[in-house]
Amino acid sequence: MIWDLFLAPFADFGFMRRALLGCVAVAVGATPVGVFLMLRRMSLTGDAMSHAILPGAAIGYLVSGLSLGAMTLGGLIAGMVVALGSGFVARFTTLREDASLAAFYLISLALGVLIVSTRGSNVDLMHVLFGTVLALDDASLVLLCSFASLSLLVLALIYRPLVLECADPQFLRSVSKLSAVTHFTFLMLVVINLVAGFHALGTLMAVGIMILPAAAARFWAGGIGTMIAAAAAIAFLSSLSGLLLSFHYSLPSGPAIILVAGVIYTLSLFFGPEGGVIAQTLPRRRFKT
């Protein structure tokens, strides 16, 4: 029974094992970035950037078909242009970052739609929108795992300045010149994780595996380290359950994974010990202001 439900799909079918590996790579790479996005109140920035990547990937697709390299490159370029452009506008003009980001992603989205429409709509573009986690080939898996490793490595390098940049940006600026470098490096990490995510889950769902586990983990952990660990665990659990649900009930896998993460988020919202609804209404054992 347990074997049939939980293990047989992965033991019997190679594409399920590949899907699981792809999801784990995305989960491990993207969730720490998601935790920092959430802590910096930039969750919607992640959403905006994922929209900005879509036309870039679409252009890559139109230029050279369903080529992994071209679509990845297109997504990376579009994402970086939007991240850097909005960052520069925010730092050197009076426009706030959220407004400039909205402006840039709307422009790149419109541009992408225009380019796609000149070649007529294509069913394969659904692949870009909703991903192909059940059809990941070797090259895609290598790409996902490389991006996840790169992301973790870079995050480890900029961890301390990034924490400072989030907690007390003024102090970081007063003691070091790393503030701008840290900020842009972090935005690059968001971009590469979203690009990796769109191969597995599609551009529309990629940001979900980044933000939902992070938001859920906020209710379970008090420190950043434990929060990242909890978020990665939730992302893994969501991937595993989402893939099994999609296997047994013939559901689209990307939305199934994100919906499981959404259910975990909703449960955390109520039952999480760190500021969840129930924890806040119950009498406290320790004092908190």
Partner: protein, 247 residues
Amino acid sequence: MSTSVAFKNLTLGYERLPAVQHLDTEIKQGSLTAIFGPNGAGKSTLLKGLTGSLSPIEGHIEVSNLRADDIAYLPQQSEIDRSFPISVLDLVAMGLWREIGAFGQVGRKMRGRVEQAIAAVGLRGFESRAIGSLSGGQMQRALFARLLLQDAELVLLDEPFSAIDMKTMADLIGIIELWHGEGRTVLAVLHDDTTVRSHFPETLMLARELVAHGPTETVLTSENQFRARQMCEACASTPHVCGKSAA
């Protein structure tokens, strides 16, 4: 005593509107100086000029033998995200940045110094508490602990005692006097003349232009305070005319 900071015909401001004009004076090394003046006199602006976050419109600031990280600055409204999940220990340990940078390790010895600094501001036992759970006064104590670790030659404090209780204020003044005793130069923007009279030997009175600078008992007179208020009111109504008359 040698000069620590010299303002040379310094004009600072925002978008071409001057907030501090033609300031020409010197802060002696190792002095404990209060910057005093009415609202809108340019006190905070002067500190921002010293940290380098605001470039002079005219003139310049000479800071002798000090690197940027020899200056510690406690802003009035800090940008600290109080909901960010870090502990008091982590917040205070940021003061070690000059020694450890982005990658250096916090060894056992350094951890001991962080704990000492926390104890020195009376927050022993709060090390692992999240910063979001601190009261305003406790937060200010934690920020002073961080300043202690920064080990800076020049300490700039912008309204360090606004909205904190008397006990905390007395403890923090003790730390400022400790810095003074160690020969550090301390500049503090203050608005309460009783505090200035009882704890700050030097006063720089500012009303966009310099009103007076010297020993507190000669500077903090009622005539000077009256003159400072008048100068500020005149400036507020006609800022450009004020600039011309001073030139």
